[in-house]
Subunit: 413 residues, 2 copies
């Protein structure tokens, strides 16, 4: 039997799980501080709701099957289609504008050889129901504040407007055909990753003339911000974002076809694996089930990349394990005293753990505390019990002191 987790799926053992919890708490707090509220949707949806919403690739990568009641169902593939369903289904029950965040797993049958996971956490944050520069700016600031809350002081928000590409399309000098625009956008989107030459190569390989490809790239790089972007930049400053924290980036395209206005990405200084957040305005998506246009703006944090970047930058607190002291048990006869000490420390709200086996050797108990990163151990043998004292051992310095229970409490508090 294959006693193993599935490829592309991960177990998170305590050390990892604690880190994830730490991040999720920080992110929730940051989102909440702007008035975003939590939403949870089921792991399974009717297949017909999801099919075709993510293109042919999405249909292929989706986990979908026939359930016991002969319904065709599919596992959550993203959180935007479920959000659209919720908006259509609950209508008036939702407070509009609907500012919601959603932090749940999604499942995609990705090629794991590319280092991708088949189960991963998405952290989405969106404002549904308004199409204003204010909501655009607030979304950008919320994304920045979430990244900041994780401990990154130096990040840069790259900002663009999808309409810049439409301006490109209507530029009479360039004579771009409608069918060429997606090809151009997809190529330019890779500029940061692959550089100018390769972007031009890609456009050429997709049927554009060399001179035209060069001209397009040059015009893109010289683009000026749209009126809307100018308003957004003004608001960002008023909201307290520093000028070095954001930049107009006319060649930022973002792959997804559904953006209709603002697009942005966040990069962390020194972290080269890619952007850690991305989003924008998408006015034609959320209404898909509601049969009317419902504007929206939002972003997703790249949870795994952020975790990776936090590791690289040592941003996790050294002791996420919060037990301060292990109460060891010297032998069977001292069990009762150990339990009393445990009760006493708990009463004083000192985070303590009681070793669960009075037959275990002291060496094993000390190793346990070391492995769990617990800083102190209390030892109380027959001598100490008779003298009504405790030994408090500091596992870092390996020092130990004989103290009264009150002195121990004072030190640990």
């Amino acid at each position: 039997m294959n006693v193993h987790n599935l490829k592309g799926f991960r177990d998170f053992l305590p050390v990892e799980s604690r880190k994830r919890q730490y991040m999720i708490n920080k992110i929730r707090t940051a989102f909440s501080s702007f008035g975003f509220e939590p939403l949870e949707t089921p792991a399974l949806e009717y297949e017909e709701l999801l099919m075709g919403k993510y293109g042919a690739e999405g249909d292929k990568l989706m986990y979908r099957f026939t359930d016991n009641g002969d319904r065709r169902v599919a596992m959550r593939y993203d959180q935007t289609v479920p959000l659209s369903r919720v908006v259509a289904q609950y209508g008036e029950k939702l407070v509009m504008p609907f500012k919601r965040y959603q932090i749940q797993q999604v499942w995609r049958a990705e090629n794991t050889q590319k280092g991708r996971f088949r189960e991963f956490l998405q952290c989405d944050c969106d404002i549904v129901g308004v199409d204003t520069p204010l909501s655009d700016a607030e979304t950008i600031v919320a994304a920045g504040k979430a990244v900041e809350a994780l401990g990154f002081p130096n990040f840069k928000i790259l900002i663009n407007d999808r309409n810049i590409f439409n301006e490109l399309a209507t530029n009479e000098q360039l004579k771009i055909e409608d069918s060429q625009l997606p090809i151009i956008i997809r190529a330019i989107d890779k500029l940061k990753k692959i550089g100018q030459e390769k972007v031009i190569e890609e456009m050429i390989s997709n049927g554009l003339e060399k001179s035209k490809a060069e001209l397009i790239l040059k015009s893109m790089q010289n683009q000026q911000p749209t009126m809307r972007l100018k308003t957004i930049f003004h608001l960002l400053k008023r909201m307290g974002l520093k000028s070095e924290q954001f930049i107009f980036f006319p060649t930022l395209a973002r792959g997804l076809d559904y953006y209709t206005g603002l697009i942005f990405e966040i990069e962390i200084e020194g972290y080269t694996a890619g952007s850690v957040a991305g989003g924008g305005r998408y006015n034609n998506l959320i209404g898909m089930f509601a049969t009317r246009q419902i504007p929206a703006v939002g972003f997703a944090l790249g949870f795994d990349r952020l975790l990776d970047a936090m590791e690289e930058n040592n941003l996790f607190p050294t002791n996420l394990q919060n037990t301060k002291v292990l109460i060891s048990i010297f032998n069977m006869d001292s069990e009762d005293n150990a339990v009393a000490t445990f009760a006493k420390l708990r009463e004083e709200n000192i985070l303590c753990e009681l070793y669960s086996d009075s037959n275990a050797k002291m060496e094993k108990q000390l190793k346990y505390a070391d492995q769990k990163n617990i800083p102190f151990v209390i030892i109380q043998g027959p001598d100490e019990i008779e003298r009504n004292v405790l030994i408090l051992k500091n596992l870092q310095s390996r020092e130990q002191k004989t103290l009264s229970i009150d002195e121990v409490i004072e030190i640990l508090k």
Copy 2:
């Protein structure tokens, strides 16, 4: 198209989701305070690992299918089989005794007409690797403290030892055959729910003589605690549990066949829908993939029932929405001032929200604050801007005061 969530699956809109988050945080903190550590396992596992582990009923209710790579997979049905897999797979990497908690969704194709859900949260907490009265007692106390942390002062822990049923089996007067024992246990387990007469009826309908059924029930009710239970009761008292918080309950059976010693359930005074937590010792389960016996003790909280009981007892804080003030926008011209106020309040760490549309009528903005349960609204029209003051409106009393920004900050802090 069926724009709806699947039957038995739930969306949690902000008000509900906040409550769930509140509970999960309390539960995590309670578990952590005993040194239990978080574990997360994937939503999908190899089908062969799960099949047969929950009986024929489990196989039937499990969501399982063939994935895109032609693997037979199954969705998480509980958290005990995944824990067993983790223990077998990671071995030495885990700190033993392994004290872990796990709070994740599980999926079961239940009959929804019985008010059951097909997706629900399980909250498991277990100590793996020791078979000691200490770990039994600690588990019970941890369960009690979690229930207490949610705000229930009056709960009762019903405690029994599965070996009491074995003693019954070897009672020479009763002459119970091995094959009859599971039938008897299953009947007695229902005592609290259906009463004495029906329990006896059930035993009779399963082939026992009436006099024998009566004698069995009577002997059960007169059982004395085992030696192990006596030790556990002593430890519970030493750990600070009050004597009215737990009781020896010789007819408590708990349906599951896998318990090997201690069994317990927690009931909340005045809450009649059933126990809110249950668990016990199960020494023959966790080793299923490790090919050796690995003792374990643990429990699960009934998350949905606890939420239900908290609602009944008004135990949720009145304002889980944490925004203190909505900064409204009087009109387009005052947008800039509203944004400046927003930045200023954020700087002072006051939880505030900026309305995202400067074209919305004031009435709509006030309604928004009301719906989101935000206690204050700041209004600043052209007059106020000229006089450099703000109006602070209390939405509960409907009172409003004209104040300087510093006065507003003082009030909101």
